[in-house]
Symmetry: C2
């Protein structure tokens, strides 16, 4: 028997992974949730047919969304994470003993329970005593917060379906207000290689740029995401991710990471010319 999962990266490009077994399949109030066991990527979580996490390459995404802001401001104590139902971002954050509180706002409790049952590799630290999980709409949650978090991580799905509101001007404005005066916002920023993702990426970048004095994007190689070239947004009220970067202090923590290192931190902000041009050339 041959069983293959296929994701359309564009309508003319397919990416397929051989599946050993479908472990879980369910329709929640928000989306279709599936977990597959595969030989090449281990367990993979898909939402509405799009790959969110695989055991083989999740370390890349979770290293980059977490350690870049943490190495920029080592004094981060209170963190808000929006999305992140698989738990991978939380797992990385809990490695910092200096973090006192992590509020996680995930709209879909079924994603969390499925990952806790089938993908403990990412979900293993959701029970850490510093973690508070709110099963709410991130858009609404953040509206009520003011000057509270040192770091907001938007670990969202794509800008359609349940994640759509997390790419709006109102949302980014509320994130700004929720942050303390030295606060940092990091968000998953989609990709620039295939045309159909470009407009969203440009719009998100423009909206963040209108709000924050320090704004940049950085990149990682994530093999299971469309094109493999993925961007993260970095926005902050004060700290520059390169000039204020505390490489020595981060290295002294002795955290072992499979992707991130302090040279790569700097290198990740050196994006290709075609990406720089797309970021500058924003009309809407």
């Amino acid at each position: 028997m041959e069983l293959w999962f296929t994701e359309q990266h564009t309508k003319d490009v397919n990416f397929s992974i051989r599946v050993e077994k479908q472990l879980y399949s369910s329709q929640s109030d928000f989306q279709k949730i599936d977990i597959f066991d595969t030989k090449e990527f281990g367990k993979i979580l898909t939402l509405d047919g799009y790959i969110m996490v695989t055991e083989k390459d999740e370390f890349i995404y979770h290293d980059m969304i977490t350690h870049v802001p943490m190495a920029t401001n080592p004094n981060i104590k209170k963190v808000l994470v929006i999305g992140a139902g698989d738990g991978g971002t939380i797992r990385e954050l809990t490695r910092y003993s200096t973090i006192e509180q992590i509020d996680m706002v995930e709209i879909d409790p079924m994603v969390v329970s499925a990952c806790q049952e089938y993908i403990p590799q990412t979900a293993c630290k959701l029970t850490d005593e510093r973690v508070h999980i709110y099963y709410e709409d991130g858009l609404k949650f953040v509206r009520t917060k003011n000057n509270e978090y040192d770091l907001v991580i938007v670990d969202s799905t794509d800008p359609f379906g349940p994640g759509e509101g997390l790419f709006t001007k109102e949302f980014y404005g509320n994130c700004y207000n929720a942050l303390t005066e030295d606060g940092i916002l990091v968000n998953q920023h989609e990709s620039t290689f295939y045309d159909e993702y470009v407009a969203t990426m440009q719009r998100a970048h423009k909206r963040i740029k209108e709000l924050f004095p320090v704004v940049g994007v950085y990149q990682a190689h994530i093999p299971t995401y469309p094109s493999g070239h993925w961007l993260f947004g970095f926005a902050s009220k004060k700290y520059d991710p390169i000039k204020d970067f505390h490489a020595d202090q981060w290295n002294q923590l002795g955290l072992i990471t499979k992707y991130y290192n302090t040279d790569l931190h700097v290198g990740a902000f050196a994006v290709p010319n075609y990406v720089k041009e797309l970021l500058e050339d924003v009309k809407q």
Copy 2:
């Protein structure tokens, strides 16, 4: 009608591109050569079923294999290119007025003629008067050369089939001898993400490291290559690609590039920890 080209990235991972039309198909003395027209990637060249070049992302590979050594030593005058039948590497080299001679050694004349007919985007500069094409085995050609080239670029296919000899110790040793005392060797270095490519990458790296005093690898995001994370090897007798890097001088040339820039030059050498570990952990 639906027509799809599929490449096995591993035996459990497929990458498929919708094809508008097969433009060319031929069996040469060395390999099966196909050229397809596609909506997403423009024209694509495959050899024995593996994607070599697409019009949409070839700029990444050709920028990185060319401008990194050229910006490290701006005095490069005589270049040997092994492989490169599509012409993209030659096109980038001919943009430097300081280069006096480019010897290109391609084993398969049918690749060159097919690209000249169907992919002028890459093959357009093969008629430059500084370019001399030798239709020979690169392995044999380089044996006869001594202290002649400032730069050798190994723009090879994968380490099986006709490209196999270009990953051997004998070959790298002959490249060393073919180089002048400030010579640089750059080679396509495969990928590290999927296990089946790792051993070849490690072996190539170890062999080069035994020969050259300065050795490094650098990365690029190439969406149509397996995993999208691709490595290049940099080896040299004298120049360090970071310490001896002439960023200002390169920027003064005014070359417009779609991928390469001088910040990215430095960032490309900051590879992930898992790649660094694989490069250090070489047994054979």
